[in-house]
Symmetry: C2
Subunit: 404 residues, 2 copies
Amino acid sequence: MVNIAVLGYGVVGSGVVEVIETNKSIVNKKSGQELEVKYILDLRDFPGDPHENKVVHSFDPIIEDDSVRIICETMGGVDPAYQYTKAALEKGKSVCTSNKAVVAKHGAELLAIAKKNNCSYLFEASVGGGIPIIRPFNECLTAEKIEGVVGILNGTTNYILSKMDKEGADFATVLKEAQEKGYAERNPEADVEGYDACRKIAILSSLMMGKNVDYEKIYTEGITKITAADFDYAKKSGKTIKLLAMSKAVSEDEVLAMVAPAMISREHPLAMVNDVFNGVFVTGNMLGDSMYYGRGAGKLPTASAVVGDVIECAKFLGENIVCFWDKDEAQLVSVADTQRAFYVRAKAEALEAVKAAFSDGEIVTLVGRSEDFGYFTKVLQEKDFAAKCEALGDVILSKVRVEA
Amino acid sequence: MVNIAVLGYGVVGSGVVEVIETNKSIVNKKSGQELEVKYILDLRDFPGDPHENKVVHSFDPIIEDDSVRIICETMGGVDPAYQYTKAALEKGKSVCTSNKAVVAKHGAELLAIAKKNNCSYLFEASVGGGIPIIRPFNECLTAEKIEGVVGILNGTTNYILSKMDKEGADFATVLKEAQEKGYAERNPEADVEGYDACRKIAILSSLMMGKNVDYEKIYTEGITKITAADFDYAKKSGKTIKLLAMSKAVSEDEVLAMVAPAMISREHPLAMVNDVFNGVFVTGNMLGDSMYYGRGAGKLPTASAVVGDVIECAKFLGENIVCFWDKDEAQLVSVADTQRAFYVRAKAEALEAVKAAFSDGEIVTLVGRSEDFGYFTKVLQEKDFAAKCEALGDVILSKVRVEA
């Protein structure tokens, strides 16, 4: 029997207990032994909860109890989750987490501590919720030199963009509706400004490089400036708009990583990733493209990934499950120096000026819409594009990168 | 250092050697040691090949060499691949294979032999080529009760159906073109009649059930009767046609498995799986739907999966990597007793008869096409549907299941 402690009895933490209970026989069979939740750490009491007698308000009994071999960290936030994780790993207790903030910020350090103490730090649930993506990276695509990752990693923004695409609604309206349905937070900044996706692509980039990719250095742009008109022009051109988290290995030490809305072809597999679903597109030098798709959030999907990690830890108690993510910093390539095509929407009066600035692009007009036009540039450097837009001034109403 | 032998120096076998060479430093790092191809078994000689001195024409030196710990079985066909695999496992040598015929027929037995001899039998490459699907089943979705799998598992038929969909061409024309391009065999039966997909869904079904699912008992229907007209009606209804390999856990012991062409909504993620790509849709009781997408065939993608397995074996030398697939037979539920909706195409003259036979369905007509019509039934039992079609007689021109 293996004793487990769950830190944080919120959405994911209570889901972890539920998954272990509901799928008890499967979980125990796959673990090769019985899993038992011994402690639940939370500041609150849960009178009437079937597990109320397991609830403790201090980390001390958990860290002091040598029979606890695996800890599920489902607290959220960096502190004290980071301190608890570190203390647990230092005592040889494996930690499984859904906490992307801790993984993005302290992943390399915590993995090193786990290795030193013959235990494991696993974080499948931190990216893509229930979609297996961390383990495919670490244990499936092992024969691959992974060259790039493009993901739809945030369910809230994907829900909003999917709605805007389907209904022609504008950002503010759809955000409000998403908030009412509980798909978006009352303070939606972490999602709509791309910060959540940024931490997730930092984690995937670090695994791709085997080196630390600092999330604070990743260029991050949200979706708040995307308009219904932009979707109309995208549609007319056979495209849609998604918030993409992208990462590309430029050399052994250099990576190009960014989070930004982008137009992609409706034929691209990522275009099929709609509503709250997530999708991760991985390119390897032998396999080419592969994609992983599923529910990127939600109580039970996320908890299922945490429990999958717990089972892995139970199978390898006293051993370290290897993960290549060194403390050495990967260098982030400047986005300004990279090349791609762009879409702009501009005031009708600026047609000649836009044509002159970006030669050989493609003009898109919409029937019944005379106040502006869409324009797709050829591939050019980001900084050239930015300079041209600045020179054109406020006739430029929208700018979106074009990816595929 | 770990010595490896490659059985069969054909497309996949030579790919295995190429992947190990091209990604040498990654492969060795992930393995935790150096991998060395010591023998290549093939009946042919390969004068001028950089590895010609490793080629042997008999299995004896390989099985007798105790320094060979891992064998890649990339021969194809059941005999002698099965005998060699069995002999290797009995001597404690792990075997990694792309050979779906051996896995489907002898998987349960070979896994039991591997377990007994503290070595492993891995077969990631046998389903979905380079797409990680076996390991996600066995090592990622471990907290899930997997309830169903729906896959596009054969690249040749998917190429043909994608072309028919895009170009409005008929089956014979596209098959001929696929044969000229090397995407279809000169004798295309194994692909177009669904036999290849059948073996693959038998493997996935066995893993889902943890019990043996006999591929010979799986209802299997190919794509040869699908016409350009069926695609026209499908399109008009927002659908496309795919060859689906489907499996559903009905109870602990009972499974519904089948391979058949089916109409699916163009909004379904599997509708985006086009050309030679494969996709596998997995439904779990906690996670809901997840999908795995990528190249289902081809030299390097398939070889990459084999080498991924080799790395896993190298990490756990002398240990058995557990796989739950017992010899006990799962019972196959009769397809005739299941329920679903159907599409039929019928001669124009039969409109009233079809309406009378299937009440409350939906008639679809195409502009400029008066000789026939499409009809979508409500959900009904397969055997009722079959009986009604038989009674209607030869006015029924096509029948296709409707899935999603």
